[in-house]
Amino acid sequence: MTATLGHTSILLALLVAVWGIISPILGSRSNHQRYSAFTRTAILAQFVLVTLAASSLIYALVTTDFSIRYVAFNTTRATPAYYRVTGLWGALEGSLLLWEWILIIFSGLVAWIYRDRQRETMPWVLMIFSIVSAFFLGVIAFVSNPFETISPVPLDGRGLNPLLEDANMMTHPPLLYTGFVGLTVPYAFAMAALIRGKVDEAWIVATRRWTITAWFFLTAGNLVGAWWSYHVLGWGGYWAWDPVENAAFMPWLPATAFLHSVQVQERRRMLKVWNLSLIIIAFSLTIFGTFLTRSGILSSIHAFSSGPVGSVFLVFLSFVLISSFGLLAFRADLLKGQAELDSMVSRESAFLLNNIVLVSALFTIFLGTIFPLLSEAIAGTQVSVGAPYFNSVTVPLFLLLVFLMGVGPMIAWRRASWDNLRRNFLWPAAASLLAGIALFIWKVRDFLPLLGFTLLAFVVLTIFYDTALALRARRRTAGEGVIRGLVTLARRNQRRYGGLVVHLGVVLVILGIAGSMTYSIEREATMNLKEHLNVGHYLIQFEGLKGSREPTHFRVEGSFRVFHQGDTWGVLSPALKFFPNQQSPVGRAVHRSTISEDLYLILSGFSELDKNQATLKVLVRPLVVWIWIGGFVIALGTLLAILPLGKSSSEAA
């Protein structure tokens, strides 16, 4: 019953989507008003139908309706209600439905918000949404159907992958999908602008907040993914340059480039073709990511035929790339005649350089990710490209980016005079140099970390110095104090100050990454009862094992008393969880964070015969906590940039 309802809704939604694609084309030939209303109705109808389909799958999951294959594979009778709901994105078929659902929610929002505006453009924007939606609906209906039934009906389900039974993992996919789907909004407006031949700045202005929002969700999705990797996967790291991670990270790079380069177009009418290309690439990468992670081509190119979903995504990806760039080429003559750079020392060129660095980073990561495929297809040898490649190519690029993050927001447009440079950068540069020297004297002696920390200090100092100058000006002209002045500044130019706060957040994230990449300690040992282990500033004593029966699994916990420079920190208990339907145990690492470093304990094994022995892995990772704090600062900055807090923020930064 539920399965029929869900599948029928999807099929109907697909029909409606096709209608939503055809009607603006018909409308452009005849009575415009009526057809543009049809386009909007098509989106709203899809919204209702897809919501119905998603609700029926959630209902089936919650009521453990094992006649549906997807439910049988992703829940058990013992699964808590919360994880039954999140089973919606526990596997491929459900994730695609979630993606489509978020997409259609975004489309519905756009249709609603612009119901009385942009009358000429909206039918085309909504048509693009219907095209993307029709693709996902087709995949859900015919290739990867979450409503497929199973017979005979099993007595109990196989259950969600235990690693996914974690609150953070449960927020990670929806955040990422929201980021991916969010990029569809600027993409749809860009395509609509190209179709109509109105390639001015209107599409950029209309989508400004959407783009920032999508960027934020992408950032948050990646950070929460890193958090999950660090806290749940239990290997002690947060980023392994796994192809799945790269697939999620790659769209972030052109999206970040786009956020900056559109400011150049708004201000100077430059980079029109570049901006359109960036958003096409960013959107294509969201489709490419799904292709890469779902096709199974990653371990071996021969596995290609095993997943029809992968090939369908590849076909759609080619369609997107060919039609989008085809349209761009078709409108090439409209895009000509733009302003040129006045000087290499200007904000335009800083932003341009930022774009070059981000696109280079994208290219190197893309190459590293697909290199094994190229190698096997061309030379027939199976190779893998490890994390050292990604670290060694991206570190110099990201250091350059950090430097530009200090320069870009402060340097003058068009042509920076010596006076401008001296006023904005002399003191911050001198102070950060001093900070670098101080770090060197203290104990940071390696070149790259030293350069990195100095550059981070430079960014922070330019931001504080600039704000201090602005505050001084407020006091002179309006007699405002520090707090009052800050509020005025932020309200007068939300986008600029929101952006600067985001930059501070990014600085913190990079600080955490740099610290933990360079100065981590790893130790591993098998310990007997009451035995000690010294790691860094810590002394760890093994206090015994205990087992307990949980609703879904059996848990073995090791107790370790931790002393930090003489103070006791109490007992930390990393555990191993044994799930009945899984062959291997799942580790539950524990950690204790301080602002200077994390202590991270992993129970790697224990003796089954003699309960008095356990193998412990200890990691000391400096500054990791700043990655997560940086994430919150980024969120604050984003809110400041997009929330309508009083004065209009349309004034360019």
Partner: protein, 148 residues
């Protein structure tokens, strides 16, 4: 025209720098992937090469010494098997009869000295999604002991 030439030169410099870091990075990080039978066939020519070998852990071959954290087992691809030695803590999902990928070199005793073991990454959820050759698709690394 002067501007145009400057842009071309700038572009070339960027391209050269990028190629340099990509090439340098690849030199460090490319690892060749072999199956146990391939490695058996060219054992001599593969000495000292850093390799990655994938296969199934032969049931009954795993000998653990938890006190010293050493693991000995055979990896097979169905045709041939190759002995592996590892010191450290393997990832949670590493067991007999399951897919595993090891990284390392062939030692003087003809045993593959693994520095890393990767077991099946469980983010791919359902059995029907696995590659048809049975190899795992993505991995969580388990690292060798570096100190102690």
């Amino acid at each position: 025209m002067l501007k145009r030439r400057r842009f071309i030169i700038g572009g070339l410099i960027i391209l050269a720098a990028l190629s340099y870091i990509i090439y340098g990075g690849m030199q460090q990080a490319i690892v060749y992937f072999v199956t146990p039978s391939e490695l058996k066939a060219r054992e001599n020519s593969s000495a000292d090469k850093f390799l990655r070998m994938g296969g199934m852990v032969v049931a009954g071959s795993l000998q653990k010494d938890l006190k010293n954290l050493t693991y000995r087992f055979d990896l097979t691809d169905g045709n041939a098997s190759f002995p592996v030695f590892f010191r450290g803590v393997p990832p949670d999902l590493f067991t007999e009869g399951k897919g595993a990928v090891v990284e390392g070199r062939i030692g003087a005793d003809g045993v593959f000295q693994a520095t890393t073991i990767m077991a099946k990454h469980a983010e791919e959820y359902s059995p029907h999604l696995e590659g048809k050759d049975g190899y795992p698709k993505s991995f969580v690394p388990g690292k060798e002991l570096t100190q102690q």
